[in-house]
């Protein structure tokens, strides 16, 4: 019987974790999904800054809060620590879902949230409105990024725009010829790269399939890849099930993806520019493109946790991270468009902002930014119900099989 206890002890600790989290939440569900018109919990923005609290816990996408541990030359956390006295602890996450559940622990002060996380964080009361008057650099942020559906509710700003970009089609130039220009190499069942495709491991990836169908099966009538009725949703899920045999791995850790591309276990896939840059610096011939169908992408927002005990440090961080110089550093390191118009003058590569169409609102509008799917269709249809994120999540488990 001793063995039985030992063997189940590990399980018991998992159970404890589940139990602790499960019972600590209350039954109330503030802000039930209601399209654009949901009511977030009543929270007030910070009125004025105090003394820096000496500490700041940052929850960020990989590459957004570099402290020199990945590359000694890439460091914008230490200058912040020196200027403000706020000691920064950085935790990075691989998917928006991970960010949402980590924010629920209440251990983080600021988070870089994409559109498929921000509204959920606002609705659950995990983040609070941001007093943009306390962030001097907010004035230089491009107007087309301010007060968007993913960073504000009823014209109340819940965060500071950080940057935006697209999920790119990436390939090994020595293994994939001719260079692909369409996502079809990842979705077509006769793709010559079967078994060497790497895809993103998150329910939001269903939108990539929907975007593909939007262009290739117009009769489905998809207008917004995040607003899918039952028929459109089943088509997208079907396409991903058809894709599964082609896939060698699903990635949520960008380092794992980089390694797979480097070793040739995958030769083709969807990746962030930062992954492409990293893989290139390690000597692998990879290239990326925004395919003809367009792409899904992100427009990220720095938000402040409602329960944060380090709000002055948090606001200092918000101002620091979108200051022209730092915003330029992050944008170049991660490979995205900066949010601050003045950042374009600070980039090492002077053409960076042109390459990424930084100030080009029309181009930015072409990317299908990650948004949380809800029952009320985001494309404005009122005659049908759309699939909500819970169903996307269940379908994702089913797709992976």
């Amino acid at each position: 019987m001793k063995n039985r206890n030992l063997a189940l002890a590990g399980l018991a600790s998992v159970c404890l974790l589940v139990a602790a989290c499960g019972t600590s939440s209350t039954g109330s569900s503030p802000g039930a999904p209601g399209g654009q018109g949901f009511t977030p919990p009543k929270l007030d923005a910070l009125a004025q800054l105090g003394q820096p609290e000496g500490q700041l816990n940052v929850l960020a996408w990989p590459g957004y809060a570099e402290n020199g541990s990945n590359d000694p030359k890439v460091n914008w956390v230490t200058p912040f620590e020196q200027a403000t006295g706020c000691k920064v602890n950085v935790k990075s996450f691989g998917t928006s879902d991970e960010a949402v559940s980590l924010m629920k622990t209440g251990q983080y002060d600021v988070v870089s949230a994409s559109g498929d996380a921000s509204l959920r964080l606002i609705a659950s009361g995990d983040v609070e409105p941001v007093n943009t008057a306390l962030v001097p650099n907010y004035g230089d942020v491009y107007e087309f990024l301010k007060n968007k559906p993913w960073n504000s509710v009823n014209n109340v700003a819940y965060g500071i725009p950080h940057g935006w970009g697209a999920n790119l089609l990436t390939w090994r130039t020595d293994k994939v010829t001719p260079a692909p220009t369409s996502w079809s190499v990842m979705f077509d069942r006769n793709s010559p790269y079967a078994g060497k495709v790497i895809a993103y491991d998150s329910p939001i990836y269903i939108a990539d399939a929907a975007l593909y169908l939007q262009k290739h099966q117009p009769d489905l009538g998809i207008k917004n890849p995040y607003a899918l009725d039952d028929k459109q949703f089943q088509a997208a899920v079907g396409l991903l099930k058809q894709q599964r045999p082609l896939v060698s791995e699903y990635w949520s850790d960008y380092l794992k993806e980089s390694q797979a591309l480097k070793n040739g276990d995958a030769v083709l896939g969807t990746a962030w520019q930062v992954t492409v840059n990293l893989t290139k610096t390690e000597g692998s011939p990879v290239e990326s493109v925004l395919p003809s169908e367009g792409a899904t992408g992100w427009s990220d927002t720095w938000m402040v946790a409602a329960k944060s005990a380090h709000k002055t440090c948090a606001y200092k961080w918000l101002d620091h991270i979108i200051s022209p110089k730092v915003n330029a550093q992050v944008a170049e390191y991660f490979g995205e468009s900066p949010a601050n118009a003045k950042a374009c003058a600070e980039t090492v590569d002077k053409k960076h902002c042109d390459t990424y169409h930084a100030g080009d609102g029309a181009y930015a509008a072409k990317i299908a930014y990650w948004t949380t799917p809800i029952t009320q269709c985001l494309d404005g249809r009122t005659d049908v119900k759309c699939k909500d994120y819970g169903e996307w999540t269940r379908a994702w488990t089913e797709i992976k099989g």
Binding site: K2, A12, G27, A32, A123, S248, N263, T397
Partner: protein
């Protein structure tokens, strides 16, 4: 002894006179652990399994319903994942038993005492390295241009690549010490005279193995199998690193906590390995192997 203060002497004398109280105090800490941390957590797990979350905000809604269990039993995908997980766990157990038995047999019966000690240490050394280091080492070895590819290529074979076989190989490697050590201990307790007697009575080596060695060491194999089976059943890291697109029950639990933020459904799925282990232990109990542990 004169330095002992009288209240302490009174207390010790009182405890000496009341053995039941003494035993109670001694056992209170482990029993509290067992009660609260272990059984309490299991109970909380079952309770959470009947709740659900608000899909948009991710808050847990404490309303009772059987929806989670309906999903678990209704969706074919969870059956597939359960069968895959049990299959992997069973295969890992068999592979480990087949590799571990000859190894343990040599260690217990043939090796000199000095070699025995060295071999035990050698078996244990992998346990000193981190799980992740070992799993990632296998990821590198199993890669398309890794060591396995290089070794097998001259024979016209290739590395299995990332997938189910890679998962079984990696897990078998990881849990092998947990199988070798109990079998080694079991074989050490087996008197050599029994093997000799069997030979004297005319049994060939295979007959001796089947009728004498195996029945006597069966409880040890079962003990090892409980380790390898339960550890594989709950694993979700190795399959994420070398498993390609495959997912196991642990991944479903992990994804529901980490990605979907659906704790109640994670709890529902987590009950599956608990039930499987209970069935396994009941089956093992029927063989009588647990009585000899």
């Amino acid at each position: 002894m004169t330095s002992v203060s009288s209240p302490r002497r009174t207390l010790s004398a009182f405890l000496y006179r009341t053995p039941k109280l003494r035993l109670g105090i001694l056992l209170s800490a482990p029993l509290a652990w067992l009660g609260f941390a272990y059984l309490g957590a299991l109970a909380a797990l079952f309770i959470t399994a009947f709740w659900h979350t608000d899909a948009f905000t991710g808050q847990v809604v404490t309303e009772w319903s059987l929806d989670n269990f309906a999903t678990l039993f209704g969706d074919a995908v969870y059956r597939t994942i359960t069968i895959r997980t049990v299959g992997i766990a069973a295969l890992v157990t068999v592979v480990d038993a087949v590799i571990a038995f000859p190894m343990a047999f040599y260690m217990a019966k043939f090796a000199s005492p000095r070699a025995q000690r060295l071999l035990v240490i050698a078996v244990m050394t992998p346990l000193w390295a981190s799980y992740l280091v070992k799993a990632y080492a296998w990821r590198t070895m199993l890669s398309g241009n890794g060591v396995l590819h290089w070794l097998l290529n001259p024979f016209g074979l290739d590395s299995p690549g990332y997938g189910l076989s890679a998962t079984v190989i990696t897990l078998s490697y990881l849990w092998l010490p947990y199988m070798i050590l109990p079998i080694y201990a079991g074989l050490e307790r087996l008197p050599n005279s029994l093997v000799d007697a069997s030979g004297d009575l005319g049994a060939k080596s295979f007959r001796t193995f089947r009728s004498v060695v195996l029945p006597l060491t069966f409880p040890a194999i079962v003990a090892g199998s409980i380790f390898t089976f339960s550890l594989s059943l709950g694993d979700y890291i190795a399959v994420k690193i070398v498993g390609g697109t495959n997912q196991m029950l642990g991944n479903v639990v992990y994804d529901n906590i980490g990605a979907a933020n659906n704790l109640p459904f994670a709890a529902t799925v987590a009950t599956v390995p608990v039930v499987i282990m209970l069935v396994y232990l009941a089956a093992v109990r029927r063989t009588g192997a647990l009585d000899n542990l």
